[in-house]
Symmetry: C2
Subunit: 203 residues, 2 copies
Amino acid sequence: MPEYKLTYFNVKGFGEPIRFILSYMGKEFQDNRVSFEEWPQLKGKAPFGKLPILEIDGKVLHQSLAILKYLASQAGLSGKNAEEDVEIDMIVGAYGDLAAEVGRFMRTENPSEKEKLKETLIKETIPFYMSKFEAVLKKNGGYMANGKLSWADLLVVGHSSSLPGLVGHDLTENYPFWKELTEKVYSLPGIKEWVKKRPESVF
Amino acid sequence: MPEYKLTYFNVKGFGEPIRFILSYMGKEFQDNRVSFEEWPQLKGKAPFGKLPILEIDGKVLHQSLAILKYLASQAGLSGKNAEEDVEIDMIVGAYGDLAAEVGRFMRTENPSEKEKLKETLIKETIPFYMSKFEAVLKKNGGYMANGKLSWADLLVVGHSSSLPGLVGHDLTENYPFWKELTEKVYSLPGIKEWVKKRPESVF
């Protein structure tokens, strides 16, 4: 069995969907969490200076979406053809746009600007995307694409679980289809056990 | 033959790689260019309020990377298996991080902040990524992944052709492998003809 070592920060973010999919696949993995203090010393070793990276028997993969997609092809969580894959990829891309806005907020240091961005996120950006996603979920029988579980579901549930800690906003409170999807993903074999045992993190 | 209608702005950016791949595939397409003045009225019609969108016989695809990947599977520009696809996806993701920094610069309105971001882009971000990409190209026989042409090559050459107009910085000047890749992509059947006839745009 290959050895998996995931390196990320001690947060959920873009690492959590990878932890989800490895758990779903029943793979043991080394959950290597780098502190923000250690990171500047280690940054130079990451292929493009970013985390997460996943080592599989020493081979280094980077870019969370590339990693997820690769694992999804082994986990049976990809589309069955190009038509299904594009449905997944569109949702992943749209969610990525929302995540980029969250990332922009995170990176902003100026306190008044940060507060302004947080307000825009909570009052405009998140409601805009969530109304779209609720419609997508409704149309797809409670999944993000193709009426069945895919890596897009693991991505959005895993990554968005950082939002309560980051912006004090829990998406499952106001969006019933999202809540249902979250509960569904959290009950999946492997993920259920992972969520119980995962380390605490602020976001 | 399906009817293709690409809607984007009158710029290269994330629309150009799609124009490249459709041209490479020998597909006629309606090259619908929306002005920045018209856009606010049309924004509500795009699935997630963003361009590009590609309509194929009326079916609306959104998210440039999803569209490219979908077309690539028909054009023979995907990987031949998951191992090759992940190599492409890693490069696409890394280039996307660079493109996001360019996008951040574009969206910044405050003149002094914009100037600062431009300087960081030109002096730090672009050289950092380009030194990595040059090494990747060298390792892959002049291509971005797997030692052969893929949609990653069309993406990076198409999108980065906006940089001279955007930040006054032509990547082909300082990076010999990038220059060679650009020339190779611009000489591909279909793309060669497209580049000759494409409309002028500021970036």
